[in-house]
């Protein structure tokens, strides 16, 4: 046990003194998470819980405008920020650009007259939407449809109110004719291998994706220490000291397992506290700590075993880091880490399933996004453990053949 503690201490000292490894393991994913969570926020926000801020001016004093505003609060995708009703167009434009609003909605003073079909301006357009040119057409259409829907409902209800007496004479309950409060359309997201009830937000995609990616980059410090141990004759010395192969492999795995665990904690903390501090949304963890621990342990075991295999097969550190780096990037690109799996065409989603990184990412998404538990991540964790054991077996065979450990 004391031997093992000294092996662990040695490995930790080697890792923390390897500035490149620390950069790759901690700084790279942290920076990626920050950049991707903030840069891709707009791409993901229509899917997720992120609300787009809309600058709004209500120039109408009527009750119908108030009712319209109240109905807008139901739109979770958009958040309306009201400013002074007398704000002129120049000022609105300035506020839009300076505060980075994508839309400004002007409820004109004829709004109530338009809804009630009486009074001045009853035939003029009652809403004006100013759009930042950076906004894509789809997002514009979503807001425009939402506003159309709310306005149509308001007009229909106003019409029903106008024919109130007629309905009473005909014996029709006007409440039954009012527009539905909720949309009758149920939306579900479908992808290969199952159904998403939710699509991740930028931070929900970025944190697990770059976390898994960085965990697999454990290849850098492992190959640095392992290959230099071999090249410098340290492994030979250890073998002459009767240090067992199990000790050496176990002694390599445990410290990196702990390093991976620290990565998980730090990257989750960044998603929960740093990203929202910088203007993104906060990462939500789900409710299964057990599931999170299981999938994190499985990813870690798989990543370390694969790194040990590559380090054993390679002759030089450069070879190991190149092969490992390229494999990681390919697995990452295939596995939906760089481009979310749900935007991939079906064929690519099928191909993504061959990447162990995809199993890990889906496992984390099960926990963070779909509120899954241990049973939900069990199959992915098992796949990662089996893959890891295969790599470890190949490593042992390779080392035995090389007669170096």
């Amino acid at each position: 046990m004391i031997k093992l503690l000294h092996i662990l201490k040695k490995e930790f000292l080697l890792i923390i003194r390897d500035i490149h490894a620390v950069a790759v393991l901690f700084i790279m994913p942290a920076v990626f998470i920050m950049i991707m969570s903030l840069a891709m926020r707009d791409l993901f926000e229509l899917h997720g819980t992120v609300a787009i801020d809309v600058l709004a001016v209500n120039q109408d004093a009527g009750k119908k405008a108030d009712a319209f505003l109240k109905s807008l609060e139901e739109l979770s995708t958009f958040r309306f920020r009201f400013i002074e009703k007398n704000t002129d167009m120049e000022n609105i434009r300035e506020q839009m650009l300076s505060r980075d609003y994508k839309f400004a909605l002007i409820i004109r003073e004829n709004f109530s007259a338009f809804v009630d079909k009486k009074g001045k301006g009853k035939d003029e357009r009652p809403l004006e939407l100013l759009v930042n040119p950076t906004v894509n057409v789809q997002t514009q259409m979503v807001l425009k449809s939402a506003l159309d829907g709310k306005l149509t409902k308001l007009r229909w209800d106003a019409f029903i109110d106008r024919i109130d007496r007629l309905l009473a004479v005909a014996g029709i309950d006007k409440k039954k004719l009012k527009a539905d409060e909720e949309s009758p359309i149920q939306v579900n997201y479908i992808h290969k291998g199952g159904r998403y009830d939710k699509i991740p937000s930028a931070v929900q995609q970025s944190v697990p994706a770059w976390l898994v990616f960085s965990m697999f980059f454990i290849i850098i410090p492992i190959s640095n220490t392992f290959i230099s141990e071999r090249g410098q004759g340290t492994l030979m010395r250890l073998k002459s000291m009767n240090v067992s192969r199990a000790y050496l492999i176990f002694g390599k795995m445990v410290p990196y397992f702990i390093i991976n665990a620290i990565q998980v904690i730090i990257m989750i903390a960044i998603g929960m506290y740093v990203v929202p501090f910088c203007g993104g949304t906060a990462l939500t963890l789900g409710e299964s700590l057990g599931g999170l621990v299981l999938i994190a342990a499985a990813v870690s075991f798989c990543a370390i075993s694969m790194a040990l295999f590559i380090a054993s097969a390679a002759r030089t550190t450069e070879q190991a880091t190149t092969i490992g780096g390229v494999l990681n990037i390919i697995f990452g690109a295939l596995g939906g880490l760089m481009i979310p799996k749900f935007v991939m065409p079906g064929v690519m989603q099928d191909i993504a399933d061959i990447s162990p990184m995809s199993w890990g990412l889906e496992g984390f998404l099960d926990i963070f996004l779909r509120n899954g538990g241990i049973s939900d991540v069990l199959s992915k964790s098992l796949a990662l453990f089996v893959f890891g054991f295969m790599m470890l077996t190949l490593t042992t065979i390779l080392l035995w053949k090389q007669k170096e450990v």
Binding site: I7, L14, S228, G233, R237, S240, M241
Partner: protein, 249 residues
């Protein structure tokens, strides 16, 4: 005493050791000479249990290498030609790590570390990272690690390669001191004939996997003098092993 009888070893059907027979007296320093590829490192690797032999027998102080490898390994130490330690650790951290792997604990570990720091004359740089050491400092640390558990047998594989004259002299003196004071048996490989003359009680010359000469140093020096002129061990070595280059083998 180390007794090697009819030792064979081959890699990919290519014989590396062919019927090696050698006896190393207890408490002596055996200088093992041979050109590149002669089989010196393979022989030491077998004696230290790093690789397995194909056939033959090895006994160390009466212990059979096949049956009692662990006991033999606990008495031995191997100082490889390469710097077999961790450059990113300090000398003290390296000593502590390898000492702990030898099973040393607490006060015993500290005593042995102090001894090794002293014997390697490392007091002034013991807390610096090994990657910043000069060649001589690295060689002294490499040797000191090999002496941590007070071994009865030390295998030294070219322990003075790439060091300046001062460090070389210091290392040779240290080896003699350990041999004299601790009565440690040593097998010392080197390409430097003058080193072997200085430290070895006996000399064995290997060539193409076999021992071609084995005698005490004085006898071999006398033979060299008679054959090639006074004290000319290098000439004798070339005469025995030939002038063919072995680097590409």
């Amino acid at each position: 005493m180390i007794e090697i009888k009819h030792l064979y070893k081959s890699y990919d059907k290519k014989p590396v050791l062919k019927d090696v027979n050698l006896t190393v007296r207890r408490g002596s320093v055996m200088g093992l000479l041979g050109p590149n590829g002669a089989g010196k490192t393979t022989l030491i690797s077998i004696l230290t249990g790093i690789i397995n032999k194909d056939s033959g027998s090895v006994t160390v102080d009466g212990l059979n290498l096949d049956r009692e490898l662990r006991t033999i390994q606990s008495k031995c130490s191997y100082v490889p030609q390469s710097f077999a330690f961790y450059p990113r650790l300090t000398a003290r951290e390296n000593l502590e790590y390898f000492g702990a792997l030898w099973g040393l604990r607490g006060r015993k570990l500290k005593e042995r570390m102090d001894f090794c720091i002293d014997i390697g004359s490392m007091q002034s740089f013991v807390d610096k990272r090994a990657e910043k050491f000069s060649g001589g400092m690295k060689r002294r640390l490499n040797l000191a690690i090999g002496l941590l558990h007070d071994p009865e047998i030390v295998y030294l594989d070219e322990p003075t390669v790439g060091v300046d004259t001062q460090s070389r002299g210091y290392i040779l003196a240290t080896i003699k001191k350990i041999n004299r004071e601790r009565r440690a048996t040593m097998i010392y490989t080197s390409h430097y004939m003058d080193e072997i003359e200085q430290v070895a009680d006996d000399i064995a010359v290997m060539n193409e996997g076999t021992i071609i000469v084995h005698d005490d140093t004085q006898a071999i020096l006398s033979r060299a003098g008679a054959t090639c002129g006074p004290g000319n061990l290098e000439e004798l070595f070339l005469k025995l092993t030939g002038t063919r280059l072995r680097d590409e083998e």
